[in-house]
Amino acid sequence: MNEAHTAPEKAKRSEWKVVLVLAMSFLLLEGLVRSFAGSLSLDLLNILATPDTAARITAAPEEVRTVLVVGNSLSRCGVDLKQLGGGGGWPQDPGKLRTQAELFAPDGSSVAQWDWGVKRYFANAGSRPDVILLLTGRVHLLDQPVSPETLGAYFVGSPDLLDAARSMRSHEDSISLVLGAGSHLLANKDRVRTRIGYSYLPGFEAAWPVLTAGRDIGPKATQAEPSGDDASAAGSVEALRRLISTAREMGAELHVISVPMPEGYQVAAPVRRLLAETRTPFHDLAVVPGITPDLFPDHYHLGEAGAKLFTEAILNSLGKGSPAGSDH
């Protein structure tokens, strides 16, 4: 076997055609992904609908208290928006006759996405909710593997791109983020794989979660809480600090609320320290009386009945007027 170098002369300029075909195929896929993003996942549809959410907040009359619930599927399933809007637990304010609650809760998102997403879709767009309720589960205020491409494509706004790139943990992540901002194909490659896998590959459903277990779970409840100096938590703490600062610049009152999960937990110490330091109201509702494991139909998210109880608990806690930075 050899590597004989006898390229035919007629192929002299052919390689540029090959490169051109490669580039065209990339652009074709990019176009397809942009055109059919909604078919790839419901979650993407939700993200793409965020500007409408922001517009509804902007359009709300002055006498309406606008509340933006920020979180992920835990918040989406865990909060009854109607009840939250219509509930009577809100602190009395003569200028606010009623409440309108909106949701920004992309699947699997955590503090990095919330930080840049709130800035992009709300702060930069001039959408100013009166209250932001940041609902977090056990690990979502700690570092989680976040796809930089997805962050760049769907959460970071163009004016913040350089800041976001600088905030990444490595040069590679910074470059990925910038590329993601330009290419939705790169940002959605994982969605395509799982979609094809679940649809066409026998046994994928059983094998894939097992083979990839642990890759995006983040710190486990059983693991020791990271200390304030823990480098793994530092990026997330920084993101939360930025989010708090963005909320203040927007003139919004930010409340951080822990969401019940089947197993009780405590929000990590570095996060609690930051909330105290920045005097951000924190409502520790990880354990709510009456919310029992049977109210989590999929053993992770609250069901309808649980959501009602949790929303009631939120309203109660807000109504008590949580002291800044303290557990309530």
Binding site: V18, L22, L201, T212
Partner: protein, 475 residues
């Protein structure tokens, strides 16, 4: 700066853009700077080590060439060999031997022992040390004239496509390419480089990293929790993970070097189509296997001193080959298995097999030999990858037992392996039949376009969700 990272390709684009406007001498200077930047990006603390070891061997080579008497030459040779093996010994093996010595002391009831030593292994040290050793030994043997230009030698040692994981180039092959003006990037070089880079990235990103998901699954759990099918599929996946990872790296290194005007040696020739252990080692990590042959096996006497000495030399060479990978009993067992198998095969077959798989016998015989060879290689990989010999034996125990359950998980593993491996094996079989590793570069451009688009799409959509570092970086 991994080859499968955006950072590397931005770095390379910058290097290539400047490089093409420089004349030969400045190209070499610039490549030394680029190579040290590349190496320092991993860990700048080891820049001093590679620089000092380059200086030592540069001057030792001059002394060897200038020393008239054989004794003086030998003395300088020993200086270099001791220095290089000493570096490897300190960084790679000292901690292992101290720990084994302490275990021995504890075993005979002597507490305490030597304090543990935990040194960070300088990346690529085994590769560039062996490359320097080949230069020094070749100068000693008068096979290579020593270079009188320090920068040229520094480039020979640190050339960025190969400094981290080879191929372990010979001075007689690489140094002339450094010392003489190189061909500019023409159509053929661009085409071959593109093929090598794309096929290498495909093997790394699609094959190796996805197979790693499957193999890591079995090595991360106690054998007792795994079905025999899981273990078997995991070992097959491991075989392709290591192959995809290392051959992919070598191909990218070759491709990148080709774009800069260098021709690096071929490191892999479809090793899993080998029909005997000898043939496997003529196809697998060729730069190491030929190094071991030329600088260890032949000096030990090779096959010139009777069958018993030949078997001893084979086993000894492979044991040291195993130890080259790292200080662990699993690598030693891996080397011993390969050495024992080579010796046994030689005992049974009498003479070495001819090259390039031209074995006697029909198609079915050839296929059986190929399957047997592949499975024996897999057995060796099991020890190579296992955390301990105990883990490997526990897995073998499961395979020998009655835990052959085939459920949804196993079905999924087979589906994923088929998705990734069937096109690869079919393509490599075609290349094998054509007897040309670069056959696709000579096909009509349309075929290349189709296959490259397939590779690009697979890399985009089926690249592993967990990118893995190249396995051989840790050696």
């Amino acid at each position: 700066m991994l080859f499968n990272s955006y950072t590397f390709w931005i770095f390379f684009a910058f290097v290539a853009a400047i490089y093409r406007f420089l004349d030969h001498r400045w190209q070499n200077r610039f490549l030394v700077i680029a190579s040290y930047t590349f190496y320092g990006y991993w860990d700048w603390r080891f820049l001093g080590l590679i620089a000092v070891s380059t200086l030592v061997d540069f001057f030792v080579a001059q002394r060897i060439a200038d020393a008239g008497a054989d004794r003086g030459r030998k003395t300088w040779l020993m200086v270099s060999v001791s220095f290089n093996l000493g570096l490897l010994g300190v960084f790679k093996y000292l901690g292992f031997f101290v720990s084994e010595f302490n275990s021995f002391l504890a075993g005979i009831g002597i507490p305490g022992g030597i304090p543990g030593i935990h040194l960070v292994l300088p990346i690529g040290i085994s590769f560039y040390t062996f490359q320097k050793l080949s230069y020094i030994i070749d100068v000693y043997r008068d096979k290579t004239a020593p270079t009188r230009n320090l920068l040229d030698f520094a480039l020979y040692v640190s050339f960025f496509p190969l400094v981290l994981a080879g191929p372990i180039e010979r001075s007689s092959h690489l140094l002339p390419q450094i010392e003489n003006p190189r061909q500019p990037l023409d159509e053929r070089r661009f085409r071959e480089g593109l093929y090598l880079v794309l096929s290498g990235l495909f093997r790394k990103v699609v094959i190796a990293d996805n197979m790693a998901l499957i193999s890591n699954h079995i090595f991360a759990r106690p054998a007792a929790e795994l079905s025999a099918w899981e273990i078997l599929l995991g070992i097959y996946a491991l075989a392709f993970q290591i192959y995809g990872d290392f051959s992919g790296y070598s191909a990218i290194a070759q491709g990148v070097a080709k774009w800069l005007g260098f021709d690096l040696m071929v490191n892999f020739r479809h090793p899993y189509f080998a029909k005997s252990p000898q043939e496997f080692w003529q196809r697998w990590h060729i730069s190491l296997s030929t190094w071991l042959r030329d600088y260890l096996y032949i000096p030990l006497g090779g096959n010139r001193k009777g069958p018993v000495r030949t078997y001893r030399n084979l086993i000894l060479t492979m044991l040291l080959g195993g130890l080259w990978h790292g200080a662990a009993w699993t690598f030693i067992i891996w080397g011993a298995l390969h050495g024992g198998w080579l010796a046994l095969h030689r005992l049974v077959s009498g003479t070495p097999q001819p090259r390039d798989g031209q074995v006697e016998g029909g198609r079915i015989t050839g296929f059986i030999k190929m399957a047997v060879t592949f499975h024996l290689v897999c057995l060796c990989w099991l020890f190579f990858r296992a955390d301990s010999a105990g883990q490997a034996f526990a897995m073998l125990g499961r395979l020998a037992g009655d835990a052959w359950h085939f459920g949804g998980l196993e079905t999924g593993m087979v589906s994923l392996m088929a998705l990734y491996l069937v096109p690869l094996v079919a393509y490599e079989w075609w290349c094998e039949k054509k007897g040309d590793l670069l056959v696709l570069t000579k096909a009509h451009w349309g075929w290349r376009a189709i296959i490259y688009v397939y590779m690009l799409w697979m890399m985009l959509f089926f690249g592993s969700p967990v990118p893995q570092e190249f396995i051989y970086f840790r050696f």
